[in-house]
């Protein structure tokens, strides 16, 4: 996107990842922010886009089972003893 071109929802979505990582030029950054400020749909979209990683992170948390922790400890001792 050129700095002067107008951001619409479609082009704004394409810029989101780079925006969140501070990779956009100041001009494009300002154009995107200006669009989102005036667009209720983009505000809703950005909120749900930003919330997605945390939702997935929490929902896919996995705790190492105790029996596997014990087995791993045994394997490590075995490797250390050269078996």
């Amino acid at each position: 996107m050129t700095p002067m071109s107008r951001v619409v929802c479609l082009s704004g979505v394409d810029l989101l990842a780079d925006y969140l990582e501070g990779q956009l030029s100041p001009e494009v950054n300002a154009s995107l922010e200006q669009h989102v400020l005036g667009c209720e749909r983009c505000q809703a979209f950005v909120a749900s886009y930003q919330a997605t990683p945390a939702i997935l992170r929490n929902a896919t948390e996995a705790v190492l089972p105790e029996d596997l922790r014990v087995s791993l400890g045994n394997w490590v001792r075995k490797w250390g003893s050269g078996d």
């Binding site: 989101l16 990842a17 749909r41 992170r57 490590v76």
Partner: protein
């Protein structure tokens, strides 16, 4: 005035890199400490990149490879990044050995736009997956966990790998690029596509949860 008693000050834990150097010199207890530090994270990574069924094998393979090669760890990268690269490769190898049924792609859940490039959905529709609280109201915890796993499984593998490392394991983009052997811009692009697909997929799941029998 309080004077700290040096004898009671806690000795800081040795860094990963110091432990790796000791392990590389043959100190087994140092390697055991690294295992203790990272076993939970490696297990979780393996679950997210593959499945709970495959994760035990990946966990063992990761630490076996680390044990064999820790002497060659030079500290050019952080130890965690180095270990994550081994774990990721072990996960990808494990995935290749599984004959996967082709998963139904998530392309249908990408955002839709009208002919003027505006969002086709209403703000209310776009906010359905607006956060854990909103989803919590629409789906019970077990259903959300199952949907999350399904969503990861249905992502194209290269999107899944980048998304898991960057967004779920919270690695910096540069480190993900190093682990996957791609450019940081490619990481951002893959993560972005994964977020778009998963956002839409969760939105769809939440909407269905509200309108069908998956309500709490």
């Amino acid at each position: 005035m309080t004077v700290a008693n040096p004898s009671r000050q806690r000795v800081p834990d040795p860094s990963d890199e110091i432990l790796a150097a000791r392990a590389g010199a043959g100190d087994e207890s140092a390697f055991a400490m690294l295992v203790e530090r990272y076993q939970q994270r490696v297990y979780r990574l393996a679950c997210r990149l593959t499945s709970e069924t495959d994760a035990p094998d990946i966990l063992q393979e990761t630490f076996l490879q680390a044990f064999r090669h820790v002497a060659s760890f030079r500290g050019d990268a952080r130890f965690g990044t180095w270990l994550y690269r081994i774990a990721t490769n072990a996960s990808l190898m494990q995935r290749r050995t599984r004959a996967r049924r082709p998963a139904e792609p998530l392309d249908a859940f990408l955002p839709r736009f009208d002919r003027d490039g505006r969002h086709a959905s209403t703000p209310e529709e776009l906010m359905v997956a607006g956060g854990a609280a909103a989803l919590d109201r629409a789906l019970d915890r077990a259903t959300l966990a199952a949907k999350a796993r399904e969503g990861l499984t249905r992502l194209p593998d290269h999107y899944r790998d980048a998304f898991v490392l960057r967004d779920l394991e919270d690695m910096p983009t540069a480190d993900v690029a190093e682990v996957l052997g791609i450019e940081p811009a490619a990481v951002r692009q893959r993560v972005h596509r994964a977020r778009l697909m998963l956002r839409g997929f969760l939105q769809h799941a939440a909407a269905r949860g509200r309108s069908t029998g998956e309500l709490k």
